[in-house]
Structures are given as structure tokens and as C-alpha cells.
């Protein structure tokens, strides 16, 4: 079964599959697939970039939702605690956050292991470090978006939920959340596009994403302009595809709204 799926995805691979761009137009050039060119390496980079961004979103969104909930609580201390979090991670450059997470996690794990009696070098996965760093940044931005969406929902909605005898969890799930998603979607779309661009930073800690793969190709083939142009083009295409797709989602989310 999994063989079937991998064959299916292989056939539908838009870059290096049988009907991929690189295999149709790139054969004989620098971006040919296989041993002859850099097409398959770049296609792998695209896959890494997309999977990193897709893996970050659920984690970041969940964290951001929790932070938004905490930021609108009546408890002063809770608001203070989340305020510190968002201030720090919205103020630090993403690149620095990435380095701090990458080296910091390594040191942390190493010291914990040393405390447990294991003395050895630990290297954490660049993908994991990138995911954690990007999720932290994404969560602090998305919490602001979700918070303003929460504020746009009138109190009456919660009161109506109470009046219907729904308990808090169900009010949240059945009444507040659908409206929240609708209000927050434009902001979250923006954040997704920013996240897609921010994934380029992981190339610095050695993860084989678009920028790193094209960079290697550029250094080996001495055609830097061509390969970095391809990198920009790929990001542009990814942004176009996602803004098209998310526009579709936005229309779907608003299908219940009457034309006013």
C-alpha cells in the first residue's frame, strides 16, 4: 500500500516526476534530474522546506491558541507570563532564535545526560531545532492574531452559550471557535507566508532546504546567479500556490456569511 502511494506521489512530483518541470524542460541543462544535474537535489530541498513549514504550523498554532487564551484571561499574573513570552520571541531576530534553540537545546540535553552519567557528544536534529524555533516564533505572532480575533467576538456569544446550558468547553468548540477561525484566517494566512520565508534560515544550521541545496549547486557549478534565481522563483511559486489555496479556504470559511 505504501509502495503504491510512494509511486503515486513519485508520478505526481511536480519537479522531478515523469511530468515534472525539471524532467520535461531541464534535461541536458544544469537542473536535469538524476546524476546529470541538480534537479533532484533541488526538488529534495523543496520537499524539506514544505515539510518543515507544514510540521511547524500545527505546533505553533496550538501554542499560539493557548497563549491567546492565557492573554485574555482575567488573571493578571497569567497575562504577565504570556506578555514576557511574546515580547521576547517577537523581539528576537528569527535567526538568533534559531541559533539559541539549536545550540541551547544541545547544551541542555548534554548537561542533563551528563547529570545522569552519560558523557558523550549529542547533536540534535537540525529539522527538530528549526521546527521548535519556528514554532515558537509562529506561536507568539499567531497568539496576537488570535487574541484580536477573540476580542472581536462579542460577549453575548458566550452568554448565549451559557443560556443554552452548554458548558465552557462546548461553548468554545461550537460557538466561539468557528467564528474565531473565520476572523483570524486573513491574519493567519499572512503568518503562513511569513513562515514559508522564515524556513530559509534553517539552511544556516545545515538543513538541506531550498536555499542550502541551491547554494551547494551554485558553489559547485559556479552558476550562482542562475541557482539563486531558481531559489527565489521556487519561493515565489510556493507563495503563489499557498495564497491561492488559502484564498479558497477563506471563501469556504465565509460561505455561511450572507452578502451584506
Amino acid at each position: 500500500m505504501s509502495g503504491f502511494f510512494s509511486a503515486l506521489f513519485g508520478a505526481l512530483d511536480p519537479l522531478c516526476g515523469p511530468v515534472g518541470i525539471f524532467s520535461l524542460f531541464g534535461s541536458g541543462t544544469l537542473v536535469a534530474c538524476g546524476e546529470a544535474g541538480w534537479g533532484d537535489e533541488i526538488a529534495f530541498g523543496v520537499k524539506v522546506t514544505i515539510s518543515l513549514a507544514l510540521a511547524t504550523v500545527p505546533v505553533g498554532l496550538f501554542l499560539g491558541f493557548l497563549i491567546a487564551l492565557a492573554a485574555q484571561s482575567e488573571d493578571k499574573l497569567l497575562r504577565l507570563a504570556t506578555g514576557i513570552y511574546t515580547t521576547i520571541f517577537r523581539g528576537l531576530p528569527e535567526l538568533l532564535t534559531l541559533f539559541i534553540v539549536y545550540y541551547g537545546l544541545q547544551i541542555l540535553i548534554q548537561s542533563v545526560l551528563a547529570w545522569l552519567g552519560y558523557e558523550g557528544r549529542v547533536e540534535i536534529n537540525a529539522f527538530l531545532a528549526g521546527m521548535v524555533a519556528l514554532a515558537v516564533v509562529f506561536s507568539s505572532y499567531s497568539s496576537e492574531v488570535l487574541l484580536s480575533a477573540f476580542r472581536a467576538i462579542p460577549r453575548g456569544q458566550y452568554e448565549a452559550g451559557d443560556a443554552l446550558g452548554l458548558h465552557r468547553g462546548r461553548t468554545m468548540r461550537l460557538i466561539v471557535l468557528p467564528q474565531l477561525i473565520r476572523i483570524a484566517l486573513p491574519g493567519l494566512t499572512n503568518l503562513w507566508l511569513i513562515l514559508l520565508k522564515d524556513t530559509s534560515y534553517v539552511s544556516v544550521i545545515g538543513l538541506a532546504d531550498i536555499v542550502r541545496q541551491t547554494g551547494i549547486a551554485a558553489r559547485v557549478s559556479k552558476e550562482a546567479f542562475f541557482f539563486y534565481f531558481i531559489a527565489c522563483l521556487l519561493y515565489l511559486i510556493l507563495a503563489m500556490i499557498s495564497s491561492f489555496g488559502l484564498g479558497f479556504v477563506e471563501r469556504w470559511a465565509k460561505r455561511a456569511e450572507t452578502a451584506r
Binding site: 492565557a70 484571561s73 482575567e74 488573571d75 499574573l77 497569567l78 504577565l80 507570563a81 504570556t82 514576557i84 515580547t87 521576547i88 517577537r90 523581539g91 528576537l92 531576530p93 528569527e94 535567526l95 538568533l96 541559533f99 539559541i100 545550540y103 541551547g104 547544551i107 507566508l193 520565508k197 522564515d198 524556513t199 530559509s200 534560515y201 539552511s203 544556516v204 531550498i210 536555499v211 547554494g215 551554485a218 559556479k222 552558476e223 550562482a224 546567479f225 542562475f226 539563486y228 534565481f229 531559489a231 527565489c232 519561493y235 515565489l236 507563495a239 503563489m240
Partner: protein, 276 residues
Amino acid sequence: MSYVRELIPPQPAPLAPARPITGARIAAIGILILWAMLAAGLVAMVVNGWDQDKFLRYGPRYLNGLWTTISLVGLAVVFGALLSVPIAFARMSKNRVLNGIAYAYVYVFRSTPLLAQLFLIYYGLGSFKPQLESAGLWWFFRDAWYCGLLSFVLNTAAYQAEILRGAIESVPRGQREGAAALGLSKQVAFAKIILPQALIVALRPYGNELVLMMKGSAVVAIVTVYDLMGETRYAFSRTFDYQAYLWAAIFYLAMVETLRHVWAFLEARLTRHLKR
């Protein structure tokens, strides 16, 4: 007939109901303790790992890097603002070709990463060395600092053009019509009526863009410019001391928070006539 002979004696106010300890309070205290522990750990790291030698060697370099970052961002934002004006007007013009070009510029520069743009300019254009030398531009594209500045200017111009356009278009039509009714020429109406109102709207997005630029400027460290991030990477590669990154974090946070507060003050000051 009966009447009250004595008043009820004054009584103390009822006790405030005891605050129940909610889950939120417990979570808040837990998180705050975590933050306090992190802060204490940071301080302990700095105190325990204090090294006069390192401080004297890398401290001045950090300040240099800080200055490089600030000057780079300042110049980029100023030049970007200048470049953004024609783009914003092209974007608002009725000429479809002009509009299309400006739209494409903004779209491309806003949807590709700054890192890729920087690489394209520094490494990519660097591979056209003979042509650039014959054009007399090699001194510019040879230097990573200039390349960083160029890519920042191009990038921020795209964002600022959108900010400017949005702000100008947010001024209601009636303002233009009012100016026309007063017999003001288009230029005077724009300078005296539209632009002041638009810039108030644009103030906050400009502040955000400045902060984003300051954060984004860290990428020049990758193309060997010794800005704050570059000095940090240098210090880390020499000492393998994790503190290098923590100091950079403190510097960046201080810069961003200062900027944010300055901007909040500016906004409060400049919009004081709108307060009711």
C-alpha cells in the same frame, strides 16, 4: 404611628469574597516561576562564566557590531522610503503597464525570503565580475556591506510602498473633493491635506517595518558582514561560549523594545489632536 428612634449603627464594609485559587492562577505562578528560573539561570551563567579577558576582547567588537546593525538598518530604511514613493505612485496610477510593473515588484520582493534575495545579489551578481568591472560597479558588488544594504533597500521599498499606498488610499474621497472645492491645486491638496492624514495612518505600520528590518538585518551576518549577529557568530566560533548568543539576544531585545516605546510615544504625541 411608629417611627425609627435609633439609627442602625455603622458597620464595616462586608469582607471581599476570598479569591478562589483557580487553575489559571496556578498555571500563571508555574510559568512565572519558570521565567524566574530562566532569568536566574541567565544571570548565574553570566556571573559564573564572567571572563575579563573575553569581555575586553569581544565587548568593543559587540559595540562595533551594534553600530553596524543600526547604521545599516537606518540607511536601508531611509533609502527604501525614497525608493518606495515612486513605486507607490506607480501602483496607484491608472496606467496598466506601470501598475503591473509596480505590482510585480512588490509581489516578488514580498514573497521571497530576504536571505535568498541577499544571496542572489551578493553571490549571484558577484559571478558577473568581468561585466561589472567594465561597468565600473565592481567596488559596490564586491563589498558584502553594500550588497546587504542594496538587498535591504530593495526589500523594504516593496513593503513601504504597500504601506504608503494603503495609507494614501485610506484617506476618504471627501477630503480630495473638499480640497478641490476650496480651489486648491492637486499638488497643494496632496501635500497639505492628503499626506498628513495618510502619514498618521502609516505611522504604526512604518514602526512595524522598522522592527522587522532590524530583526531581518541579522541575515547579513551570513555573507560575512560583522554586524551584531556577525560579531556574535565570530565570538561563538572562537570561544564556544553560549553566552555570546545570550548577549546578542539582550542587545536585540533592548533595541527592539526601545524602538517600540519611542514609536508609541511618537504616535501618542502626533495623534494628540485626535483624542477625545
